[in-house]
Point group: C2
Chain length 284, copies 2
Amino acid sequence: MLIGGIEAGGTKFVCAVGEESGEIIAKTSFPTEEPAETFQEVKRFFHSHKVEAIGIGCFGPVDLDKKSATYGMILNTPKTKWKQYDVLTKLKSDLKVPVYIDTDVNAAALAEYKYGAGRDVNNCMYITVGTGIGAGYVQDGETYVGKSHPEMGHVLIQQHKDDPFTGCCPYHGNCLEGLASGPAIEQRYGKKGAQLAADRNVWELEAYYLAQAIMNYVLVLSPERIILGGGVMKQKQLYPLIRRKVLDLVNDYVGIDNVDTFIVAPKLHDEQGVRGAMALVSSD
Amino acid sequence: MLIGGIEAGGTKFVCAVGEESGEIIAKTSFPTEEPAETFQEVKRFFHSHKVEAIGIGCFGPVDLDKKSATYGMILNTPKTKWKQYDVLTKLKSDLKVPVYIDTDVNAAALAEYKYGAGRDVNNCMYITVGTGIGAGYVQDGETYVGKSHPEMGHVLIQQHKDDPFTGCCPYHGNCLEGLASGPAIEQRYGKKGAQLAADRNVWELEAYYLAQAIMNYVLVLSPERIILGGGVMKQKQLYPLIRRKVLDLVNDYVGIDNVDTFIVAPKLHDEQGVRGAMALVSSD
């Protein structure tokens, strides 16, 4: 059967149709506008590409508590037009097929687990470091949700004593996202990360923050692999810096057999979001 | 059938025999000595109290990866005589019954979930704050393990600017356990926590550290309830302080409907460890 996937991001939507095996047959993407316009585009794509079920990996926070009256609804987002928007009901009524919803990062984690950098392990995390920071987690083929869903990008970390930046998270100031997201880099230095590629200090500080968060994820979740993606991680020099700092922090307290296979890059070339959305259909 | 439970702690062992329903028929406890002497006591108790299966909630780190060659063995502990000690094999060979092993804190979390402060929720954490700090997590009746098992007591937090104590964790210095365990309080102030009950500043600082860790647990696991136990939490004044600080840190980013039922005391009066060990038999 043909299935559909929607990667519903804060800046763009990606829609795809494909086989249950994960192969994509057709794909489109468009900017995230107001809900009505955006779902008009979604409807148009899936009217010309018929599917039997759809998965959506959605930006959030989104209510994933199946017992909740607002299940499938976007909650407390700074994007005011999307606040309280009922994504799940809208899709079901527009497309008349079963819809499976999870977070964007859980979908990405699921795709890397099934088809990418997590294929050989029983559980893995996918962390995206970009406009925001978020993480998804898959164990034994199932995405982890909890009561609602994790918001791992907002964990508290220790600010470096030589970093005067106050942090850009509107909720927590200097949480991980506040100190280490793409916008944090840009606000701290007045330039985008890509323009700072040669400045070693920028990436030492970035790794300092990401390593602390990873240390805490390791201690709380005990994952078998950590996959780091997103725009900021295009700076490949970050991987060895992060690996070294995580080893220093863990200090042999928990076993990390091989840090080079423990902390890795994604393998799905920015398709993990939409392929993971498709994979939500069969994993449910 | 009758089942056995062993709460294998770093300072004492508790052994119990009881019904599958969780009711305890007989119980004993003795100090944790070297492994040979300690398991001699265990054997003696279960020779006079026949059981058909035994669960053990064990101090750690302990290898819980069923695929590992050292499954059921204690790993990197400061208690040198216990390092590399194969608890699981020893119990099976001494007692000739099936043995189910998990961490001490996972066992405690399971007991509170089944019989105590987590009875009305689908998932809960149990955090013990005492000689060490550790946490267990149960979702839908199953303890969470990950690759090996979490070591949540060692998460990194921000040290208070007015706290000069360097932290007492031999691995990480000023991690949560290094700053907020019972020994940390005693080393910082030169007195045990119980002797400092009236000193508000002591508990404000303790709550400052615990609230940060809880904030991070909430963001990573999205638990439905957090149960705080252990010797340090006998200072009941901590609960309201921690609740208020967690609300301040979360800053409405994730929904906490009622903090008084979200962060609570245990209900099993220090029997959660051994009752949880018994419960490991039926939950496996």
